[in-house]
């Protein structure tokens, strides 16, 4: 079984984790076209290569970011989501 290097819990077996899909930026829902929104919802770029994904360590409920090379089935690196620049449309007004 693969090991996932969790930024919070260290290396743990993969079955303790669940993938939350690619890290993607939500377009501004108030200004984007229907087509742009539909593309955000349904279009995925599944070209093999390095993907940035959300992963959750289930027992601790911790979401973090993993960069995974889907062509080589390798986890390149993982880090806390605070290191993601907050996507613009998702910045919550204070």
């Amino acid at each position: 079984m693969k090991l996932m290097p969790c930024p919070l819990n260290g290396p743990r077996p993969l079955l303790e984790f669940v993938c939350g899909g690619e890290v993607r930026t939500m377009p501004d829902p108030d200004t984007c076209t229907d087509a742009a929104w539909a593309s955000y919802l349904f279009t995925r770029d599944s070209v093999p290569g390095i993907r940035r994904e959300w992963w959750c360590h289930i027992p601790s409920g911790y979401w973090f970011v993993a960069e995974r090379d889907t062509a080589r089935d390798e986890i390149v690196k993982t880090y806390d989501s605070s290191r993601l620049a907050a996507p613009q449309a998702e910045v919550v007004p204070a």
Binding site: M1, K2, L3, V18, G20, P29, C32, D34, W37, A38, L41, W54, C56, I58, G61, Y62, W63, F64, D73, S81, S82, A86, P87, E90, V92, P93
Partner: protein, 947 residues
């Protein structure tokens, strides 16, 4: 005829301990340290099994279970690997795959049918009307041991282990690698499938004393754990290796692995190369050095490398008669070809092995191409053993599973590891290093590098090809014969012709050929056949091994008894705090989202439907109590808690007053209804809310993900397991509960959608006014440990109101009467809230919530379907959930909920219908499961107004 020799230095057998056993019904004797196969060989038994397809007699071939010839049924246990399984006193052994015993196997006549069993037979015969007949026939005559279901269950422990460096193979290379890794500070595990360490060193360059000294140093080293009689069965991601020990499986995670798995000797392919007595040179070496058994009384060695001559010398040293050494190569090769007193020939072409009356080899017919004058004349040489030493294939299977790539080395005529993933090392003959001293050095280098890797240092190991690499494998040890029977794969009885035919029929890539011909798909997984198969394929296609990738060899490396793979199933069942109370009330259990929940409570003399109806009636007329502890329960605390809920739930919660609740609807980004629950505001900055039973874990995780994205100032507690919860419902519920609490429950003080904290029967509780199943109801949430107590208190206090516990079925019925949809039952993954008639729970005017953008699109397009209530006439055919609505000859929807309402005395239901059918009074047509059309009429919901 094989026979036992006088003591051989370093032999593994203990001649002071004789073991009696039985084989095919006759008594035998062996020594402690013998394997089943060697004990039989020492007794002169040549035929130890029958082949899979043609039932040909088979004997010792590799004496390492690299072939599947010697599989036995031992005391009822099928397919014991006789080559390596230690002999036990009193064992009752029979051959597998025979009809009426090994010697008189009726199946041996199957060989005459061979012309009718062409390659790809299954694909040609197993289809259409022929399938069942052929399948039954083939199943009856093929197959290996017999499984006895009545044998006692045997539990085998599993162990998890961790180490810095795992060394696979304890030959000269592996021993050296383990020592140097341990010297580098690593905790080392060293595994070897043999009962003793040393591998082939004893007969390939080392003295017995040298091997023993190495083994001693390893055994004394406290940092090395040695596991013998243990094979690495598979190598999985991130250096996770399954080790199969005799009575245990160990799953080990290593920081680094050194593969010192060596090589597997490969057979020559010529007519009747499968006769008992024809075997690999390394099999003879194992027999000689481990068990002191001579391979025959008159031995012929067929060779193409130095190892063959060395074998002849060693046999002669033990006074075994070597009749000839026949070299396939021309005389120009560098090795010394002369052995005084032994006939040595070069440029030999083997014609066929000839069987004696007992089925074992009695002679070899060959040609000598070196002498032009007699090039076409064959010669027959009498012998009772033909030892083949014509080349090797690396035992690279595990290394490939670990992610290595291999390349064919034309200088060595062997596949070698080409690229290795991080933390994976290869050393020794697997690396093309054959000389004893060089193997030890390669092992030491790999051990040092592996220890450094385990310490987290950079990969320092660079395998340098030693200069003295020499060719040990013949290019093409495959010899055609007009009458065939030149076996490539002994497991599956595949001949050269079969592979040629497969290629002819278009299956001419290694992967296709494997599947079509079943090459390498037997129990030994092609250890002795994949390379020769690939050689034949390259000949047919005019290519070379350099550009013919070998097929992937998947786990397991050796057959693994199923007992090692079977384990206890860890199916988690969650039980409510009041589980024993339900049990005492006669609960009939169902599984809901991993929980055991009472479906209904059985009463003596009442059927299922009557019980459910009685429970529902109690709720409508007096009081009912249901355990809803399985609901997800989540707390959110923090200044942004309300604003966070506004962003994820469709309703409005920041403006909720403390002490009140609101229905919460959770959508996904596509505007699809995902989950629902009741959200209560406990105070300024804290909320408590429920989710559906099945959605509990997923919703909690999703909330955490949204806040990982938004990073708002609030925190989450999954309180699902912290609290028990009961819904007390019915007209008498207020009076009942008031008798147990000081909280004012009057309509004015505690209206619908209120939430209060206080004590119930002395237990700290949160009470939510609920209306899911009845107009009046209270959901009481208490600490888990008090759950059973509260249940009993409520049931006792409710006695005078005629209280009844009700289960999931009654709850489904009661909420249906109220017209409430269940998310996931009345909705599916295409249902938006407008279609589920839950638009009232959506605040489209909010600045943002998950699903809002998509709902704008859904709103502008109008609904594609609508949830409607319907009722059926008094006498109707049975209608079930998922029956279809038919309108104008087309599907116009489906029934999502249906039940007979005891309150109304009618059958009512919900259906997801085309919007044109949504108006009350519309006549519907439902196609029942038996095809009959059932009329129904759309009615307004709730079906039951006041209850």
């Amino acid at each position: 005829m094989m026979y036992r020799l006088p003591p051989v230095p370093g032999e593994w057998i203990d001649r002071s301990r004789q073991l009696e056993f039985e084989y095919e019904g006759r008594p035998y004797t062996g020594f402690a340290g013998d394997t089943m196969t060697s004990a039989l060989a020492a007794a002169g038994e040549m035929t130890l099994g029958r082949s899979f397809k043609y039932h040909r007699p088979r004997g010792i071939f590799s004496f390492a279970n690299h072939d599947a010839n010697n599989l036995f049924q031992v005391d009822g246990v099928p397919n014991v690997r006789g080559d390596v399984a230690p002999l036990a006193a009193g064992a009752r052994i029979t051959a597998v795959n025979t009809f009426g015993g090994l010697a008189r196997d009726r199946g041996r006549f199957l060989e005459w049918l061979a012309p009718f069993l062409p390659v790809g037979f299954y694909y040609k015969a197993f289809h259409g009307r022929h399938f069942p007949r052929w399948e039954r026939r083939i199943r009856a005559i093929s197959g290996l041991g017999t499984v006895h279901a009545a044998l006692p269950r045997e539990y085998t422990p599993k162990r998890y282990a961790f180490c810095d460096v795992l060394v696979v193979g304890a030959g000269a290379t592996g021993l050296a690698a383990a020592l140097s890794a341990a010297d580098g500070g690593a905790r080392v595990m060293l595994v070897d499938e043999n009962a003793r360490a040393g591998g082939s060193a004893a007969w390939s360059g080392a003295t017995t004393a040298e091997v023993a000294a190495l083994g001693e140093r390893v055994a004394r080293n406290p940092r090395i754990e040695v596991l013998l009689s243990t094979y690495a069965a598979g190598c999985y991601a991130d250096r996770w290796v399954a080790l199969v020990e005799p009575h245990r499986m160990t799953k080990v995670r290593a920081r680094a692995i050194v593969f010192a798995t060596g090589v597997i000797e490969q057979p020559a392919v010529f007519r009747n190369n499968d006769l008992p007595g024809v075997m690999l040179g390394s099999a003879a070496q194992r027999l000689l050095h481990r068990c002191a058994i001579a391979p025959g009384r008159r031995v012929v060695i067929l060779t193409a490398n130095r190892e063959g001559y060395e074998l002849a010398r060693q046999l002669r040293a033990h006074e075994v008669h070597v009749a000839a050494v026949l070299d396939l190569r021309s005389g120009s090769v560098g090795d010394a070809h002369e052995i005084p007193g032994v006939r040595c020939e070069t440029r030999v072409v083997p014609e066929e092995a000839i069987a004696g009356r007992d089925g074992a080899v009695r002679a070899l017919r060959f040609r000598c191409a070196s002498d032009a004058s007699v090039a076409q004349r064959t010669e027959r040489i009498e012998c009772d053993a033909v030892l083949m030493s014509v080349g090797f294939a690396p035992a690279i299977q595990l290394l490939m599973q670990a992610g290595a790539a291999s390349a064919y080395d034309t200088a060595l005529q062997q596949h070698l590891p080409a690229t290795l993933p991080p933390g994976i090392f290869a050393a020794g003959r697997l690396n093309g290093v054959y000389e004893f001293a060089a193997r030890r050095q390669d092992g030491r280098d790999a051990g040092v590098a592996a220890a450094a890797c385990a310490r987290g240092e950079r990969d320092v190991y660079r395998h340098e090809k030693p200069e003295h690499m020499r060719q040990v494998s013949h290019l093409y040890p495959v010899f055609e014969h007009a009458r065939g029977r030149n076996f490539i794969d002994l497991d599956e009885d595949i001949q050269v012709k079969d592979l040629r035919d497969a290629a002819q029929e278009g299956f001419d890539s290694p992967e296709l050929m494997k599947r079509y011909s079943t090459l390498g798909m037997g129990p030994s997984q092609g250890k002795l056949s994949n390379l020769n198969g690939a050689r034949v394929l390259t000949r047919v296609r005019g290519t070379s091994l350099t550009d013919t990738p070998l097929t992937t060899q998947r786990p397991f490396y050796h057959p693994v008894p199923l007992k090692h793979l079977a384990g206890a199933g860890f199916h988690v069942t969650r039980r409510s705090a009041a589980h024993a109370c339900h049990e005492a009330l006669g609960a009939s259990w169902m599984n809901v989202g991993g929980w055991q929940r009472p479906e209904f409570y059985s009463f003596a003399g009442l059927g299922r439907a009557e019980c459910i109806a009685a429970e529902a009636r109690a709720v409508r007329t007096g009081a009912g109590l249901i355990d809803v502890s399985t609901l997800g329960k989540i707390e959110i605390h923090g200044p942004d808690a309300g604003r966070f809920l506004d962003r994820v739930y469709a309703g409005s919660f920041a403006d909720l007053r403390a002490g009140s609740t609101r229905y919460g609807l959770l959508l996904d980004e596509g505007g699809i209804v995902r989950d629902d629950g009741v959200i209560a505001r406990l105070g300024e900055a804290s909320y408590y809310f429920t989710t559906t039973t099945g959605g509990a874990a997923g919703v909690y995780r999703e909330l955490l993900l949204w806040n990982a994205r938004w990073r708002m100032d609030c925190a989450f507690v999954n309180a699902t397991g912290h609290r028990a919860a009961f819904n007390l419902a019915g007209p008498a519920s207020r009076e009942l509960l008031q008798s147990l609490t000081g909280i004012d429950l009057s309509e004015a003080a505690f209206p619908f959608q209120g939430a209060r904290s206080g004590e119930v029967a002395g237990i700290p509780a949160r009470i939510l006014r609920a209306g899911f199943v009845a107009a009046l109801g209270f959901e009481i949430h208490v600490p888990f440990g008090s759950g059973a107590h509260l249940w009993n208190v409520l049931m006792n206090a409710g006695e005078r109101f005629g209280i009844r516990a009700f289960g999931v079925e009654a709850q489904r019925l009661l909420r249906l009467e109220k017209g409430h949809a269940i998310i996931g039952q009345d909705t599916d993954n295409l249902t938006n809230p407008f279609e589920a008639r839950l638009g009232w729970a959506v605040r489209m005017g909010k600045p943002f919530f998950v699903g809002q953008r998509s709902l704008r699109i859904h709103e502008s397009r109008g609904p594609r379907q609508t949830l409607v209530g319907f009722e059926l006439p008094a006498d109707h055919a049975p209608v079930f959930e998922a029956n279809l609505l038919i309108d104008g000859g087309d599907i116009a929807g489906r029934v999502t909920s249906i039940a007979r309402s005891p309150t109304l005395g009618r059958t009512i239901g919900l259906a997801m219908a085309a919007p044109r059918l949504a108006a009350p009074g519309t006549e519907l047509a439902i196609r029942a499961s038996d095809g009959r059309m059932v009329p129904a009429r759309v009615v307004k919901t709730p079906f039951v107004e006041a209850a």
